[in-house]
Amino acid sequence: MEIFGIPLQAFLGQLMLGLVNGAFYAMLSLGLAVIFGLLDIVNFAHGALYMVGAFVAWILMDKWGISYWWALLLAPLAVGILGALIERLFLKRLYGLDPLYGLLLTFGLALILEGVFRKQYGVSGQAYPVPDLLSGASNLGFMILPNYRAWVVVASIAVCLATWFLIERTRLGAYLRAGTENAKLVQAFGVNVPLMVTLTYGAGAALAGLAGVLAAPIIQVTPLMGSNLIIVVFAVVVIGGMGSIMGSVITGLLLGVVEGFTRVFYPEASNIVVFVIMAIVLMVRPAGLFGKEA
């Protein structure tokens, strides 16, 4: 049996791999969407924070032998704190100004973070082993799927759903959304809005850090890993609709799959297919697939 001229086995295999990559895109774009949707910051430091997350995990292992499972908790925490600091020290001063300032500031921060790690660790990258519990691979019949990659899909979908639930379905989420709509009013109800904003940025950063830890065993931990990914992730957010949380998750998964298939049919185009889709989507729906028309 063949689908679009490729054997079913290969088709299913590529679909699976696309989902794995899509899970990364989804998680990273989710963090971006949260930060943009709630704070109106175009966070160009997101890729760098993802890279820092992976490096924190690697350093924890290399220096103190701390396991992957602890890193999964500690690294996002560390990146979250770094994010909160960034918000307090820099971004706080930019609210009310043109969002372009925030974009430039976070872009600069990304370059600095990347430069610091490049100076310290070089670009070849550090190896982070797959945790024992998840090593090995399962034969799915149509392909050999490394257990670790299956775990990544499950973990990121769980995180995405939890984040969506938190923001759209809980009281805390309601405060957040209200606070960013009308800070003065919400403050009058006794909610500490600036703290909430700091924590939101921190949480967005922590999501990036978590994606970094999940990525560490798959690719080499290198200072370049964030900048390699960030442009694609931005495209995902734009296609999904800036700020739409569900939009970025679904688009992330879809684009991972589309990119995977492009690698089969026309590998040379796999790096740009996302941007082609972005251009088409923006022509038809300028607010993105799930965005609200302004």
């Binding site: 590529q14 791999l17 670009v123 550090q126 190896a127 691979a137 690719i219 080499q220 690698r263």
Partner: protein, 400 residues
């Protein structure tokens, strides 16, 4: 009419006088353009620039009683950036000689500029054999290695050892294409077949899709015609997806930094071709020790070649008493090269540095005694067998 003539004469006089004055006094400028920040920055990059500075310092910092000045720049793996930087240095800074780092696209662009502007150009880390073949130039020296040597030494050894069915995973730019073509030729000449290939974009982060296709090909060798971070990530994914169980993965261009990064346990048994290894003799170890003290890692063959190339260039200039490009090129092509990097090296008329190449095998973790002790020498391959032969060459400079 008369005024016009006078103005023209003055202009000519100024131009000539200016060039003359600049050429004979003022600093001798050596420029270096390489990948300083991206995927090849560890195998050459800032440490490669430092090696050139060391070469200049060790030479005394002066030649022909003029100070030697060093310029370096990051080409970001973009040919247009490399070409415009080279042009700017030659036009505005009166650059005496250009050293090119990694990345074939940039190297071919710089070779074009230096050919047009008549400046010696020593290309160290770029792989494409086109530099001394189809696109050869009287001003280019290709120093460390090239794709033909990688194919003949690395791929050749594997075919002879029984790997007959090949599948290529190729970086989609000048270097990858050269390497795939050169290696395919060697495979076929030795009785093997190429069952397929897939091209991936430079600096691809995910190789799983490509590897799945390779797995479906039923080849017995998966040849990686890429380098640096791409090779590392492809190897890592190959192991993760169990491809190493059914196919042998061969890196056609692997540097010691890559082996270190993958980890000796993952790279064990890998065969690779290179022009130099830090642990090959006492002189090399001495150089490597100095490097290690500064960088806490061992130098790549390219970084050793950076030092060697600039030192030998300065020797040529010293001997000739001039930086004149044509005279220097003639000297570079007639002198013998003997240093820690190579023995009896010689630059052929096409610009190819002819020196011995080596086939190494990565040791097992238990055989690796000291840090960075990764390679076991398998074979020494004489220059004539490693590089493009005169008969094979398409370079007009070789065929008079």
């Amino acid at each position: 009419m008369k005024l016009k003539t006078i103005v023209a004469a003055l202009a000519v006089g100024f131009a000539a006088g200016g060039a003359f004055a600049q050429a004979q006094t003022g600093p001798v400028r050596i420029g270096f353009i390489t990948d300083m920040s991206s995927l090849y920055a560890d195998i050459d990059g800032p440490a490669g620039a430092e090696m050139i500075k060391w070469a200049i310092e060790d030479f005394g910092g002066k030649v022909l009683n003029r100070p030697i000045e060093f310029l370096s720049a990051d080409h970001q793996n973009k040919a247009d950036v490399a070409a415009s930087k080279a042009r700017e240095w030659i036009d505005n800074q009166n650059l005496a000689m250009l050293v090119g780092g990694t990345s074939s696209g940039t190297a071919l662009a710089m070779a074009g500029v230096t050919k047009e502007k008549h400046r010696p150009y020593i290309s160290i880390g770029a792989g494409s054999a086109r530099l001394t073949n189809e696109d050869c130039s009287p001003y280019t020296v290709h120093y460390a290695y090239d794709t033909v040597a990688l194919a003949k030494v690395g791929a050749g050894a594997l075919v002879k050892a029984g790997a007959k069915k090949w599948y290529f995973l190729t970086a989609d730019y000048a270097f990858g294409q050269s390497l795939e073509a050169d290696a395919s030729k060697v495979v076929k000449e030795n009785g093997g077949t190429v069952v397929g290939s897939v091209k991936h974009p430079l600096n691809a982060s995910d190789f799983s899709s490509f590897l799945l296709q390779a797995q479906g090909s039923k080849a017995d060798i998966l040849a990686l015609a890429n380098a640096g971070g791409d090779t590392i990530n492809a190897m890592k994914a190959a192991k993760e997806f169990g491809i190493t169980k059914s196919m042998k993965v061969a890196g056609l261009l692997v540097f010691i930094n890559d082996v270190h990064s993958i980890g000796v346990a993952n790279a064990e048994g890998l065969q690779l071709a290179d022009s130099w290894y830090w642990n090959q003799d006492d002189e090399s170890r001495k150089f490597a020790k100095r490097f290690f003290e500064k960088y806490k890692r061992m130098p790549s063959s390219l970084q050793a070649a950076d030092y060697s190339a600039v030192t030998n260039y300065l020797k040529a200039v010293q001997k000739l008493g001039t930086t004149d490009a044509d005279k220097v090129m003639a000297e570079l092509k007639s002198m013998k090269y003997n240093d820690f990097y190579q023995k009896n090296g010689q630059v052929r008329a096409d610009g190819r540095m002819m020196h011995e190449m080596y086939l190494f095998q990565v040791k097992s973790a238990k055989d690796s005694n000291t840090p960075w002790d990764y390679y076991k020498l398998v074979a020494k391959v004489p220059a004539e067998q490693a590089f493009t032969t005169v008969a094979e060459s398409k370079c007009s400079l070789l065929k008079k």
